[in-house]
Symmetry: C2
Amino acid sequence: MEPGPHGYAAARREADGPSLTSSAEFHRWWDERLRSGGFSVERIAFDRLDSWAFDPRTGNLGHDSGRFFTVEGLRAREGSRDVRSQPIIHQPEIGILGIVVKEFNGVLHCLMQAKMEPGNVNTIQLSPTVQATRSNYTQVHKGKVTRYLERFVGPDRDQVLVDVLQSEQGAWFWRKRNRNMVVLATGDVPLADNFVWLTLAQVRELTQRDNLLNMDARTVLSCMSFALPDKAETAPVDAFGAALVRSYKDETADGGGTGGGHALHTQREILSWFTEAKTRCEWSARLVPMNEVAGWTRNDREIAEAGGGGKDFRIIAVEVAANTREVAGWTQPLLHPYGQAHAAFLTRPIDGVLHLLVRARPEYGLMDQVEMAPTVHLLPGQDLDDVSEPFLRDVLRAGAVTSRYDQVLSEEGGRFYNALTRYQILEAQEDFPLDVPPEFRWVTVRQLMDLLWHGHYLNVEARSLLTCLYSLR
Amino acid sequence: MEPGPHGYAAARREADGPSLTSSAEFHRWWDERLRSGGFSVERIAFDRLDSWAFDPRTGNLGHDSGRFFTVEGLRAREGSRDVRSQPIIHQPEIGILGIVVKEFNGVLHCLMQAKMEPGNVNTIQLSPTVQATRSNYTQVHKGKVTRYLERFVGPDRDQVLVDVLQSEQGAWFWRKRNRNMVVLATGDVPLADNFVWLTLAQVRELTQRDNLLNMDARTVLSCMSFALPDKAETAPVDAFGAALVRSYKDETADGGGTGGGHALHTQREILSWFTEAKTRCEWSARLVPMNEVAGWTRNDREIAEAGGGGKDFRIIAVEVAANTREVAGWTQPLLHPYGQAHAAFLTRPIDGVLHLLVRARPEYGLMDQVEMAPTVHLLPGQDLDDVSEPFLRDVLRAGAVTSRYDQVLSEEGGRFYNALTRYQILEAQEDFPLDVPPEFRWVTVRQLMDLLWHGHYLNVEARSLLTCLYSLR
């Protein structure tokens, strides 16, 4: 199996074939997992944190071992003017988010895990085979060995299909990346408790349920652009489905406005647009001691914006008791958003090929300042009516869009407490303008898939939405 | 003209055709520029710097305007252990290094500039059309407008052929990138003083002279992988030349060890190797106040390693008087290395296709910690005999390599004082091992060219050597 960065077509695998696990079996199994959880998550005061403490000199919150992560301060400046001060999670280690895939009966299956995370609104979610920080797998906390890890690292690992560093939330993490991996097993893979084999089509289908497929699974799946529906094998449901299938195609990548290809812009034009967007950033951000973060205060239970008018998030602490994680119980800090965010891709067919309206979005915690994001990304409390760009707001207010996808999904439950995002894919009508403000561009799905072989292009919300898009017909 | 990120073949232009400027004319013109320079560069004490000062609180050296760059401290840590402390140049703005190209008589020409930089060992060097920091072109220093800049930015710019952010020296700069651009002019381009039209072949040929083509020109030229020699148009001189031409070819990019292609590894394998190299970095680096940099001291004329045993560099100040730059005279700090560095690519044909032995090299100032570097990169005072890897040292000591390129070239004269690097391209014999330590990989030129459409892959020394390689036959 040789996808190659430019060889998606060569990696085709039947995604719709018979599964080892029927959907009914999966849901029975899932309900069982939910019932047998046996854990609790409780908010606690900071002074009940075990092995975590505030550094008296800096005010940073960290673990005694110096590992895991710290809560520090971020300050962004334009020239000599402060434009943003906030707490931020700093975790310089690169972890692994990995899915083992294997063919059964000629159909590619993914080994997925029912995994508890303390911040999950519903305790367990469906996760990649392996989800390991470096601290996890070098066993700083002396827990159990991470299962299946040896299939991703070391001399005897399986065949690597995907291996790329991808960013996570730039608003909450300081330059965090994880290694997104997919490996193909050919030998025997014993099935452990809390793991299940599902076909790619089944896993993608689970994006149609609220809060089931976790963020880590979604980001890895976004990089698995193989076995997508093909016109030859699937009769598209409607014009949208047909345009979507065309948007996956190889030939769109090198086409261009001048050459009669299928994409509105050549990939070179997209890269130049993105480069230009980065040069427009006048700010630079750096870590500072939490003590120097203006406008935020700490009491015994949370770090929050002073004055109580917080709209973004606060830092809290929790105590966890669980059977299904590497250790039996622990305490840790979490970032707790004040409400639900909202991310949406506006799409439209252009000459019969579906295009997504991506936005070059700066975020203070991103390593390279700007990544490609969904068309709109609203903070808790805002609605589509609050979109600031008139060309978008008008069409959204008028309801002149068709919703193709609309679910609430969770962000990383190991660092965020009850962080929910409403994800939408909206189809605009054919008269929606192609000429858009400089921070936006119309791109095909294939163009985004090609960029996913590299890091620092698509942000985590855009990747989540791509995975949701793959589930559509 | 549509190179496209994957469409090098489509961008072919005759490079060897007749030039507007014969080589004899160029060299006469160059000698004239040298004679008419009329400038001087003098080392001065820090207290003679005008508008530059040390911040009493941090010890950082900066400009009163808050622009240009600062000299700050860098500290890298592994866990809680310091692994490196040093001064570092911090310049968060993204500048433009741009070359205007235009066809004359059907041959692509580059508009090059004779440009003085205070750190140049020979005062002027051949530079891109435009070499502008953001401070330059927003005119913080109230000098003249940067010539030809309007061809790269704004609504009336020329057609963009190359537009990518590329890193610079990770040992001396904190996360510095410049925007490498090439634009194609179709209308009239008036020729200003100190500018000259040369064909791509002529510019590449100038890498065969010591200290003539400056670093900024070399990095932009490395991204211009069009109009390279083709087997069909050029009879290769020998087996090396034939292997080099094959190494440029399209079909090598998607080949693989399993599929009988032309490259030893698939591009996907190269990307995975590179991802893995990043995860091996256990250190993280951050900016700190210069006052907190241990082991370095400042007197009235330099910041240097304490004890006088400095092997790397010191920070100095200079006063410049010149006619040919945007303003008539100025003072500024510069980084002054203690001697000449040495960078070399080891190459060998594999199945008739030239491969380069790249190294995943960590540098503390790189944004993403690791980039692909030449096989060896030695500090001043070290020679090839000092290479620490036995598999390399043995072959180099035994002299079992053929030198294909060997010149001394200068690094950025606007920030570094007399920073010279000996660049070499060495050909190993066919029995040199293909199985190399984990930080090395054999790659084709084409594979590197494909990565140059993106930033953070090839470091600046690797890019310089690629440009030198393009000059070989």
